[in-house]
Symmetry: C2
Subunit: 493 residues, 2 copies
């Protein structure tokens, strides 16, 4: 008895958790209940029942089977079911007619052969990867309807009427589902995929921006265990990115069925989302490795770490910032080049690092510590390189999805997570020689901007601090530079 009460309580807790995780699940459950109650009224309502009779059950069945969480999945299944029922119904009637021509003894044999051949062929076709991805359910319904119609026709002669009634009830059930799923609190797979990508950017960006802090600062806050645990939990959110592939692919598949909604066109480039997501996942693998070095039992003495602190901190935080910018640009569906600047900053930090290493700063480090340290270095270099690739991929996405242009030559001031104001100044390549800050223009429109290091502190608040940058913009079309300011906006054009 006590065990049963405990069990019920556990189920209740699990239910609350599941509902809290995504409240749309509760709404979805209500929507399914509504659709079913509506469709089963076909049985009660006399004129409708007179029309469809027992076939009204196909409407119920359709609702139960095709009503899925997202509009795309529901639409996909609905269209699959309707088309398959139509085609299989037609072929079934044909097969039945053909068999009936052959006389009463051969007819059942012929029908059995038809059923066997179509079932075997269709089942085999379900293994084709492209078919499996989008039309699996349709083929299933095709097999079902063909068998039911061609065989049941053996008994009844009103087969055409049967096929017609079945099709119309299926369509009625399907249309109810689709309408309810679109007009009552719709869940768009496309929107979900979009948000998932944005949140993946955010979690990776958070990790990279916090990495320096975690790696270079001793755990002095041992007093507040809870705080530390919370930080750790936040940092390790990136782990969800590692295994997001199947989820993303399913969402992209559903999204292809969805009509225009919100800011998404019918043929929105969902495939490009998958490409960006794959690169992000690669980056997450590197971050997973980095994380294992933060938590490793084998700790490198802080004084050795500190030797490389400045460029390493900058590499990770600038990559993080560029991801944050990409996330913002994705979220707003605006073309933006603000991420490029951070990419360039992180690359220049890479160069600084390599200069530092060449100076022989690590010559006296013990080999095992050296290995652990240089692996961190190499992982961060990978992250920086991947960030550039991701940025390119996001630009491709932006043009494929026809994101709106940000106005050129304007100063945008966005509040990013860590309360820094990021000021982005964009200028056309042919105007770039008007930038005066020690900029030297070479013949092929490559602009190199040297800015003196005014303040080394990364988290300094209040003062203006400019990163020591050696940015050569030859790789991109836009020539740009960035000034980070504590609380002031600087326009410099």
């Amino acid at each position: 008895m006590k065990g049963a009460v405990e069990k019920v309580r556990e189920i209740w807790r699990e239910g609350r958790r599941v509902g809290k995780e995504d409240p749309r699940r509760i709404v979805h459950a209500f929507k399914v209940g509504l659709a079913l109650a509506f469709v089963s009224s076909f049985y009660y309502y006399q004129p409708l029942y007179d029309n469809f009779g027992v076939n009204a059950m196909w409407a119920v069945m359709t609702v139960v089977v095709i009503f899925e969480f997202s509009v795309g999945a529901t639409l996909g299944k609905g269209i699959n079911r309707a088309v398959a029922t139509l085609v299989a119904g037609g072929l079934g009637v044909g097969a039945h007619h053909l068999a009936s021509l052959s006389g009463p003894t051969i007819e059942p044999i012929l029908l059995a052969i038809f059923v066997f051949v179509q079932a075997a062929l269709s089942t085999f076709v379900r293994f084709f990867p492209r078919v499996k991805a989008r039309y699996d359910y349709g083929i299933l319904i095709f097999i079902l309807t063909f068998s039911l119609i061609s065989v049941s026709g053996f008994r009844e002669d009103e087969i055409l009427e049967l096929a017609h009634k079945r099709l119309s009830t299926v369509i009625m059930g399907g249309v109810s589902c689709v309408l309810i799923s679109i007009f009552i609190c719709p869940v768009w797979a496309g929107q979900d995929l979009h948000s998932l990508l944005v949140s993946n950017f955010d979690t990776l960006s958070y990790f990279l921006q916090e990495f320096g802090h975690e790696y270079f600062e001793e755990a002095t806050h041992d007093g507040d265990v809870k705080e530390v645990e919370k930080r750790r939990k936040n940092l390790e959110k990136y782990k969800s990115v590692l295994n997001s592939k199947s989820n993303e692919e399913a969402l992209a598949n559903f999204a292809k069925w969805e009509p225009r909604h919100g800011k998404f066109r019918f043929r929105h480039p969902w495939k490009q989302y998958l490409a960006v997501a794959a690169l992000l996942r690669q980056c997450a693998y590197r971050i997973d490795a980095l994380n294992s070095y933060i938590n490793s039992d084998f700790q490198i003495p802080m004084d050795i770490k500190k030797k490389l602190e400045e460029p390493l901190r900058r590499m990770s935080s600038e990559s993080g910032k560029s991801m944050k910018e990409m996330s913002i640009s994705l979220k707003k569906m605006r073309k933006s080049s603000s991420s490029d600047i951070h990419v360039l900053n992180s690359q220049s930090a890479c160069k600084d690092l390599s200069t530092l290493l060449k100076s022989g700063i690590l010559n006296d480090v013990e080999p095992l510590q050296m290995i652990a340290l240089t692996t961190t270095v190499s992982l961060l270099i990978d992250v920086v390189n991947l960030t550039e690739k991701i940025s390119e991929s996001v630009h491709e996405l932006a043009s494929a999805a026809r994101f709106k242009n940000k106005k050129k030559s304007t100063v945008s001031s966005e509040k990013s997570d860590n309360d820094d104001h990021i000021v982005t100044i964009l200028c056309d390549a042919d105007k770039s020689n008007t930038v005066t800050n020690k900029s030297s223009v070479d013949s092929s429109h490559h602009v190199t901007i040297m800015i003196d290091d005014e303040d080394d502190s990364v988290h300094g608040g209040g003062e203006i601090h400019v990163h020591p940058s050696c940015v050569s913009c030859g790789q991109t079309n836009r020539d740009s530079y960035v000034l980070d300011s504590g609380n002031k906006s600087i326009s410099n054009n």
Copy 2:
């Protein structure tokens, strides 16, 4: 017209490819055809038809919907469907009875409420992760059957008979599927999972055993491009391991439904397979990174690489060999400790490497080359550590799955891939002082065996060559050492 012919040809090619990839798919298609043709004979055969009438269609429907590729999936769906139909049928009859007590005006309203509430509740429960994994289909059928029975009961009074007929046809369809799927060329999900794990071990092992060759030998065979491409393709087979998670989880879920088959008991520890597979996947991530260093544009000069060649080659090849041993032990379902020896060898190579590094061998290497080299080193160290974890996990699996013991103190001689004979000599700890090969026994039964380096060449054929090992066996219960011989078997007990 020409386009259509081309299209047909393409489909034909795709079909051949799909069939060749796994010929059991063709057999499966035949099995489905057979089951359907059999079940639809219920319509033709008069006595059966008299008994079931139109309800015979539920048998057809059951076959189409539950016949899956593997026995486990079919059984799982079949049991889900039968139980759900039974429970929902009972509840549906109860709901109908309750509603009919309330008089003709309230009855439809009450029924609609019942349908709404059960559909909403059940739909919500489908979001529970544990329910989703194993009982998703059952709940779907529950909603369907409850709605159909409680509502259709509004029309007919022979509702009990209807429920009974529906249940028996569902069971007949289900039993046909299960019998055909078990007795005609069965596809066991458990066996598939087992083989998948074995093949994952093999691909990783292949990569690790070939790594030394790829990394340390210059591409001198540029004459034979095809050969190189084939090698590369073989090496990169490990990539399938990176994304095998969802596949493995699905197979494990199906396998749980399967009865005893072959060497697998009913409660075979499938969960432990997933644990081993997860570790293997982690190892594959490292291997992916290693592979990117083989193919990197940034090449380290060979003379620098060569400095670390000996221990690096040994680390990777010994890890590879230990994985091969684990694969063999899994395949034969025998407990075996031959892999431990290779794990120890790879760890001793690690120690040699660290000694080598401490000697300052890399002091004059350029920093960027240093980073690339030490990253390779660090990845290989990770691989060695993971190999140990994997080995432990395989031992756990072996005892959980009650693998048979290999006889102790016997000499087994197994032919491994690269034509080396591996001679494994096992001896109990308390007998270990009979081993004479310069072994020193310390007080706590830890045996340290020092063997002089007789021959440095790793691929030497013909002569006996013994790895320079400094194996301390304190971590494991077994004390053992290994002698690699070119073509001779050595027994030394």
